[in-house]
């Protein structure tokens, strides 16, 4: 019997094979694996050569200066983790820090100097960039109407010293950004102290109630996630020991959405609300009488002022029910230590008078030297004989006066509004930025001289001004900068020399020497997860070695100074009264259309908040490239 195979049989067998494949894992497994395969880079990135090792440094992307543990293959970091027990961050890290090693390869990274003219970016060489800098410095030296101004976002570094020397040599200005967030409230409080200069920090671990009028305490402010973590831990303790966060703001921002209580308030009426709380505390004798007696002056005058702010009036002004005001004041008094922070609400910055009312509220609650501990600064070398300009504020820049504006890479747009800087510029002013990115203020520069990207340079990092104690790290570099990258220090010195300006020699090692000489504080060695007292560090070389391993210095507790806080400063009462009795301000147009009570219904992710606030780099590259450059 002969088997006859026809074309029909072939088609049927082919159909059977197709059906068989379709019924096997091949199609969907291939689809899944191929989709992962397509996510690999076009040319497979070889796993970096070298053995697996862990190195430590600190993140320089924001003042929190978090400790970083880098997983490296050879010299190449491939991933980051937080450092539990690190004095600056205590195991905190935000998404930006976790991905810091990618920033050097960001599409908006610039590796060569670029001049922007007529909306076009043109690559220039180092010599041309230096010549432009020296010509601008010389012009500022010749023409008193064209000031040189440099803005430095991280004062105290050795590069800062060069900036100050350059400002002094040209008769220019060395500008540092104003305090922001919680630091604003601490500054307002410290200014009321009559016992000499005072610096205060915030110690959330000592507080049971935290009231914020704007500082995003649960999201962006300070050490990432610290207050949220402390609050979560406290929830496992008896109710009386729990930490609660109360956000009082006109708009329900991310921190408000995560807070235990959100109190929506009419914008611009924060002073009336703070005085209403003060009224209840004093009226019901709930204030910290011992602290007021020992540490404050002007109680009678302040009591007279706050007496006018009965909860019923506060309700009229702020839109917050009188019962809510009374209940909150009683809650704060019953759950001390409590602290109150002002800051920069989304609806607009708080006035000096409002910060004064908030400072008085902290005094009534006895917060200073407890939840708001006294701290000192990290030791610093003296200026010696060098001619260095003192730090000044943005207010020192008259409109249209700056002929040469130099923006350090550490100045973020959030710290200094570009509109304010632009107002200070003279016609044809040269705006130079050392930012490694064509983004943020780097995008505004007419001459971009890109410096090292994050992790490409060793950098001195002081912790945030509102931390409970001073910290200092000399964060070692983990990445190599691109070849031919002009270092700001070098290029500035070359330009100054060409302009005939003499600058003092760099004070290499002076900061470490100052630290050793002070014999204060301890060094946290992240590799050993242990502390070494500064007094036990044998030599500057040993100190240098510790810092090169990612160590972080942390100050000892600072003793309480003698002195008293003024509840009301001279002539302050009428201004405070005027502000508190004033009409609410309008919400900025961008926020006016948002619902007052709930901007977002669900609490936002803690991790997302830092990401959205701290960098312009995460905007889609196409959106972040200046229109002129795209054209």
């Amino acid at each position: 019997m002969k088997l006859e195979l026809s074309r029909r049989d072939l088609f049927l067998a082919g159909g059977g094979a197709v059906a068989g494949i379709a019924l096997s894992p091949v199609p969907w497994k291939l689809l899944d694996d191929l989709s992962i395969w397509t996510q690999q880079p076009p040319t497979p990135t070889p796993r970096p050569a070298g053995p697996l090792a862990f190195r430590f440094t600190s993140c320089a992307l924001c003042p929190a200066s978090c400790g970083l543990k880098a997983r490296c293959f050879g010299a190449q970091p491939v991933g980051f983790a937080a450092v539990p027990g690190h004095p600056a961050s205590d195991g905190g890290l935000c998404p930006l820090g976790l991905t810091a090693h990618h920033l050097a390869k960001h599409p908006l990274r610039a590796n060569h100097p670029e001049r922007v003219s007529g909306g076009k970016r043109e690559r220039i060489d180092r010599a041309a960039a230096t010549a432009a800098l020296s010509a601008a410095l010389a012009a500022c030296g010749r023409d008193p109407k064209r000031t040189f101004a440099v803005v430095d976002g991280r004062p105290g570094r050795s590069l800062s010293r060069t900036y100050r020397a350059l400002a002094a040599a040209t008769g220019g200005l060395y500008v540092t950004p104003p305090a922001a967030g919680a630091a604003l409230s601490l500054e307002a409080l410290a200014k009321r102290f009559d016992g000499g200069a005072l610096a205060l920090g915030v110690d959330f671990s000592k507080a049971r109630r935290v009231v914020s009028f704007g500082t995003p305490v649960l999201t962006d402010a300070g050490t990432p996630g610290l207050l949220a973590r402390l609050r979560a831990e406290s929830r496992r303790r008896p109710a009386a020991e729990r930490i609660e966060v109360i956000q009082v703001e006109a708009t329900r921002g991310r921190s408000a959405a995560l807070a235990d209580r959100y109190i929506p308030i009419a914008p611009g009426t924060e002073a009336a609300f703070a005085l209403g709380l003060a009224h209840v505390l004093l009226d019901e004798k709930l204030a910290d009488a011992a602290f007021l007696e020992a540490r404050t002056t002007g109680l009678a005058d302040f009591a007279a002022l706050s007496a006018r702010f009965a909860p019923a009036l506060v309700e009229q002004k702020t839109g917050v029910g009188a019962g809510v005001v009374t209940a909150l004041a009683r809650d704060l008094a019953a759950n001390r230590p409590a602290l109150v922070l002002g800051g920069d609400p989304t609806a607009g910055p708080l006035s000096g008078e409002t910060e004064a009312a908030i400072a008085a509220l902290n005094l009534l609650l006895g917060a200073p030297f407890g939840a708001l501990p006294v701290r000192s600064e990290a030791p610093r070398e003296t200026d010696g004989d060098a001619k260095l300009a003192a730090a000044t504020s943005l207010d020192a820049l008259p409109d249209g006066s700056v002929g040469f504006l130099l923006l350090d890479a550490t100045v973020a747009e959030g710290m200094v509004p570009w509109a304010r800087l632009e107002r200070a510029l003279a016609a044809d002013a040269l705006v130079v930025s050392f930012s490694p990115f064509r983004a943020g203020l780097g995008e505004k520069a007419t001459l971009l001289i890109p410096g090292p990207a994050p992790l490409e340079e060793s950098i001195e990092l002081e912790g945030p001004a509102d931390a409970p104690f001073a910290t200092l790290a000399f964060a070692p570099a983990l990445l190599s900068p691109p070849k031919d990258l002009a270092l700001p220090e070098e290029i500035l010195r070359e330009a100054a020399e060409a302009a005939g300006l003499s600058l003092p020699a760099p004070a290499a090692g002076a900061r470490s020497a100052a630290l050793l000489a002070a014999r204060r504080g301890r060094l946290y060695d992240p590799a050993a997860a242990s502390f070494v007292a500064v007094g036990d560090v044998a030599s500057p070389d040993a100190l240098g070695e510790l810092f090169a391993r990612g160590a972080c210095w942390v100050d000892d507790a600072t003793p309480e100074p003698k002195g008293r806080f003024a509840l009301l400063k001279d002539g302050e009462a009428p201004r405070l009264l005027e502000t508190a009795l004033g009409a609410p301000t309008a919400l900025p147009a961008s926020l006016a259309s948002l619902p007052r009570v709930a901007v977002s219904a669900a609490p936002p992710s803690l991790l997302l908040t830092k990401l959205t606030r701290e960098t312009a780099l995460f905007s889609a590259p196409a959106a972040a490239i200046p229109t002129a450059a795209r054209a």
């Binding site: 091949v26 395969w37 195991g91």
Partner: protein, 192 residues
């Protein structure tokens, strides 16, 4: 004689099914050797817990695979065990880290914090990693030739059927567990 149509169809269907279910998985995966043999059970029987080597700090942060230094705490010198001798000779003495092939390795854009899972939700390590602690030999590292990830990410069954809850570390597995616990959140919580 003419073949009946179902038979012609089956002639194509059966080999294709066999190729898809039996041959394809063999072609898709290859096995790589771990740098050292390791007996988890010998360690856990001695009273050690996962966290003794794979440290999870009190605040829940995970310190990952143990550094060679940690192994050297007990195995600083050679003895009569070939595996320990290899560890000492190749890694402890030269001060190198052991390049373990990690079954749970995820893409670089996946951020998995152990803290909320281990400390927050009190998940046992075995919930995601399986009863690793009972193994007496190093499990073979089977890698997908296309994706480059361990077979453990997909799970042992190519059809993903009959899996135990710890078999599989695909995104869908994370989502399933999060959904069951009412913990669904945004993309950027896990993807950076």
């Amino acid at each position: 004689m003419k073949l009946p149509a179902p038979v012609s169809f089956a002639v194509g269907l059966v080999p294709a099914l066999a190729a898809g279910w039996l041959l394809f998985p063999r072609l898709l995966y290859r096995t790589e050797a771990q740098p050292l043999p390791f007996n988890h059970k010998a360690h856990t029987e001695g009273g050690m817990g996962c966290a003794d080597c794979h440290a999870v700090a009190e605040n829940g942060r995970f310190a990952g695979l143990p550094a060679t230094e940690a192994c050297a705490g007990c195995h600083a010198e050679k003895g009569d065990n070939a595996g320990i001798n290899a560890l000492v000779a190749s890694y402890v003495e030269p001060g190198r880290e052991v390049p373990w092939l990690v079954h749970a390795r995820q893409p670089d854009n996946v951020y998995f914090p152990h803290a909320p899972h281990v400390t927050g939700d009190k998940l046992a390590c075995a919930r995601c990693h399986g009863p690793h602690g009972e193994s007496t030999a190093t499990k073979a590292y089977v890698v997908n030739r296309l994706s480059g990830y361990s077979r453990d990410i997909w799970g042992p069954s190519i059809a993903r059927v009959g899996r135990k809850e710890w078999q599989g570390m695909k995104m869908s597995d994370c989502i399933q567990c999060h959904r069951a616990g009412g913990r669904e959140s945004a993309c950027l919580d896990c993807h950076k």
